[in-house]
Amino acid sequence: METTLVDHDRLLSALRALLTAKGITTPAEIAERIRITDTATPARGAAMVAKAWIDPEFRTLMLTDGARAAESLGIPMRGMPPLGVLENTPKQHHLVVCTLCSCYPRAVLGYPPFWFKSNSYRSRAVRDPRGLLAEWGTVLGDDVSLRVVDSTADYRWMVLPMRPSGTRGWSESALAALVREGDMIGVTTPQIPSGTPARTE
């Protein structure tokens, strides 16, 4: 059935009015939740990744309890699902998908990119994940096992990518600037921008 923006607006207004009338929530609570959602960006996840690269204790906490690790950096996690963190290693790469809908770790990555919700991404991530990764320029060696994590229920998942070589001595903020949302979904891996002077290690 065709629906218009006006239909959606009317439906949303009616739903909000009902939630308030029934005492389930308040307009202030809805506004606060929208504010929290709107202020979340992939920079939050990138800050966690950079800290994990330089702080072994934080890394352990992040891999054990992602939500507590996020909270320790001041990221609001109240009312959010548990956050699981998947560690990429030289032998194992992770790719996150939600084949059922669009479950996404919004608290730490913000709104999902448009393609994350597409039918083609959701089906190919489980049917042809290596082909999908190759299209993103991520070619895994035959000795690297690929684990596709289908986010189907109560957890939300983000990837802890490997720190790129050539970044020894980099500051936490410089490292965080390397980490893109795709690196934390697993379609890409962090890259040093071309033109960065090579450093001896």
Partner: protein, 92 residues
């Protein structure tokens, strides 16, 4: 409670053919055999929660599948790791 390493069969059940429902078990895994990796915790059954019914807490497991066993053509070369509720799993 199932332990890590337990082999499990995902029930080959299709409640969506019997009426309105909300299911968090993907179609492509119904009838598949996998291995429990770990218990993730207990959560209210989303199949009831979605309809505002009393939702019993169920054990949620991370279950690993060999992707090459799912589609009938021995591809792709990957592991698929999925959150599944105990109500969908039978030990084999």
């Amino acid at each position: 409670m199932m332990k890590a390493g337990q082999r499990v069969l995902v029930r080959n059940d299709w409640p969506e053919t019997r009426g309105p429902c909300h299911i968090r078990t993907p179609h492509y895994l119904r009838g598949a055999t996998g291995t429990v990796l770990r218990h993730l915790g207990d959560f209210p059954n989303p199949e009831d929660l979605a309809f505002g019914r009393h939702a019993k807490h169920l054990a949620l497991y991370h279950v690993s599948f060999d992707a090459s066993s799912l589609w009938g053509d021995r591809k792709p070369q990957a592991e698929i790791l999925v959150e599944l509720y105990e109500s969908w799993l039978e030990p084999v």
